[in-house]
């Protein structure tokens, strides 16, 4: 593993110095290689699926794991979309001249070596690889043991793209064994070879990373997202937005987990909104005031207010206005995404201003918390860290900068 770190560090410089076109070519050629290798990838994936079924893995997990020709074409298409993105390197993001007369420019540069640790979805191997190539960062990828064969087959296509573009194959390496010690080595920083660790997985992975990592981490712990219905909310909009925010997909981090409803609007808003959710198969857990309006709700306990269900379950609380909604979110939220539904612009402004989450929304579904929806192309995740990058993280967020200072023999007095 230490040798892998050294190889990544050595590859980081030529990759950083490679022109945008060369990195674009590597991504395009990797997509071409993936399309050409469909059969090999499907065979590798069949092994992973068989093993998962043999272990008795739940059906939704097996489904996340399973590839078919359409899914592989979609992965290749996503790679090509990243190839078409603007290159984030070498951009002059500021330029000025202070009173001393120097000419100072701030120029974007890669971060260096990223270690990305992920779990079951094999497409993450492709996303992570091409996002790193687009941002000029060398990568060490560590796939979950469930998807290792699939991920290695995809990685082979990436290696082919790197070769075709004349870039070092070690620019994107993948740990080839399911050994759990590999994660420990990566978290230890591989002798200083890793500039940033990005975990992408469930709570146990993220907690291990937070506990053991000796290199900086960019990640997110949880998405305990809230939708708040202000008393001024339009009923039809509230019904549509809440149903989508909770039920479109319940397993993603941007799914709403708690619904807050203004007391002044609860009688008008809550019964129809709850009716839609129940009809769609959602379990509701409410406080006393909410249950008074929707008697079929079960009783919420304290743990429900902080729960990331990732399932068709919703906690429901009645609150007294914007400030109490904000206080609830401060206390129980995870700083991911929160939305207000309101016609009253002043109330919305107060909510957007006071709620300090990575993403705050007005009259929109929290399920829009996604790099693709933000227009970032592929994303490597949503950061709930406050440092460096917050919210959706794509290639443009995985850069640093340097200052380029031009003088004419300037000396400091």
């Amino acid at each position: 593993m230490v040798a892998m770190g050294r190889a990544a560090r050595a590859a980081a410089r030529p990759l950083a110095e490679a022109p945008a076109d060369q990195r674009t070519l590597a991504i395009r050629e990797a997509a071409v290689a993936l399309r050409r290798r469909v059969d090999v990838v499907l065979a590798a994936n069949a092994e992973d699926v068989l093993a998962a079924e043999g272990r008795g893995a739940p059906a939704n997990m097996v489904d996340r794991l399973r590839l078919d020709p359409t899914r592989i074409a979609a992965i290749a298409g996503a790679m090509e979309a990243v190839a078409a993105q603007n290159d984030p390197l070498g951009a002059e993001t500021a330029r000025w001249s202070p009173p001393n007369g120097l000419d100072i420019a701030r120029v974007s540069v890669p971060l260096g070596v990223l270690a990305i640790i992920f779990e079951s979805r094999p497409n993450v191997a492709a996303d992570a690889a091409v996002i790193c190539l687009r941002s000029g960062n060398a990568a060490i990828l560590r796939a979950g043991s469930d998807s290792l064969n699939s991920a290695l087959a995809i990685h082979a296509a990436v290696a082919e793209g790197l070769r075709a573009a004349g870039l070092p194959e070690t620019a994107v390496q993948m740990v080839a064994t399911p050994d759990r010690d590999a994660v420990g080595h990566i978290l230890g920083g591989l002798d200083g070879a890793i500039d940033l660790i990005i975990p992408r997985g469930g709570r146990s992975l993220v907690e291990r990373v937070q506990k053991e990592a000796r290199a900086p981490v960019l990640g997110h712990l949880e998405g305990v997202c809230h939708t708040y219905l202000h008393a001024s909310a339009d009923l039809e909009m509230a019904r549509k937005v809440v149903l989508n925010a909770k039920m479109r997909r319940t397993s993603i981090c941007g799914a709403t987990e708690t619904l807050l409803v203004d007391r002044a609007g609860a009688e008008r808003l809550l019964p129809p909104v709850a009716g839609d959710l129940i009809a769609a198969g959602c379990e509701l857990r409410g406080d006393v005031a909410a249950r008074a309006l929707v008697p079929t709700m079960t009783e919420a306990n304290e743990a429900d207010w902080s729960a990331e269900y990732l399932a068709p379950v919703l906690a429901v609380r009645v609150v007294d206005g914007v400030d109490q909604a904000v206080e609830h979110i401060v206390r129980h939220g995870s700083g991911h995404t929160e939305a207000i539904v309101a016609e009253d612009a002043a109330a919305a402004a107060r909510f957007l201003n006071r709620v300090d989450s990575a993403i705050v929304m007005w009259n929109a579904s929290t399920q829009f918390a996604d790099g693709g929806e933000f227009g970032f192309g592929a994303e490597i995740g949503i950061s709930t860290s406050r440092l460096h990058a917050r919210g959706p993280v794509g290639a443009a967020q995985l850069v640093s900068y340097k200052y380029v200072v031009r003088g004419r023999g300037h000396v400091r007095p």
Copy 2:
């Protein structure tokens, strides 16, 4: 200490929500209070100076510690300069509409709670406090035991400014005891109350922080800065720039520690440049080729190439062109600041492009590596981290952002 962390976390919200004018007022009133308290601050400082002299501290250390009415006026002036700066919060740094029709804005927000650990210069207490107020971050300050009385006296003025502006005094707290365990508690993160640790001190502090910190750290380990004389360098410019880069002040992190000289220009450039340095009292340690040209140089050993002398000592090496200079810097530098002196614009461009340090310079003294010289106002240090902020760190670098998303009932397909 944990109570201090909780108080800081509680103060962070009202501080973040306070308008720019209120934070400006707090800074101005702190400066007023400091000017009014000159006698109290001088008395506290006299205790620190007496104790240092009693311990037999070196004269330059005692000098760094000593305040006088002029120095205190300068500290108050620096505070007022920060009060006059643009406020970095609430700025819309990007706004766009992706294909889904949402209106997305990226808005700057504070980081939260910063812990700043510093050593002997008491003015850092003032700089750190006002930079945090300007950026809306709550602060926990930990002064070195050498300067604790002075720092506490300055902190009392900051507390008066906070009261006068109607902000919580706990927005800027200072550890009141010289207990070294306090550093350990802060590095432990105070139960998650600290968002960022900023060490400002010597190598032993920075190494302790890097080893023990359980919260993110922004700092710099060393400034092993290089000046490279390209064969095309103008002789008079080279003499002036190198003398300033090394000798203006030898104790700052932007002082040049190694001089690289092109073999093709060494005979023309090195003897006069070395002569100036020797005349100014600088010791030179060279490789064989350098010593052949300047026989009074002592012999450099391997450790000299990585040394941060912070003293009138300079390592000197002859290299074969830009790429060998870059390789030397990659191997031995600390990623802080490197300069090239050259008339050849293509050679300079190659150097500026290939050297990946926080600051790269062309025809200027490395001693310009400073937030004030960059026009940032007060700085809390120079970051050699690659994440979040790199190079000089002022109030504008101590912010995060959130995304404010406005829809019209948007739901995700």
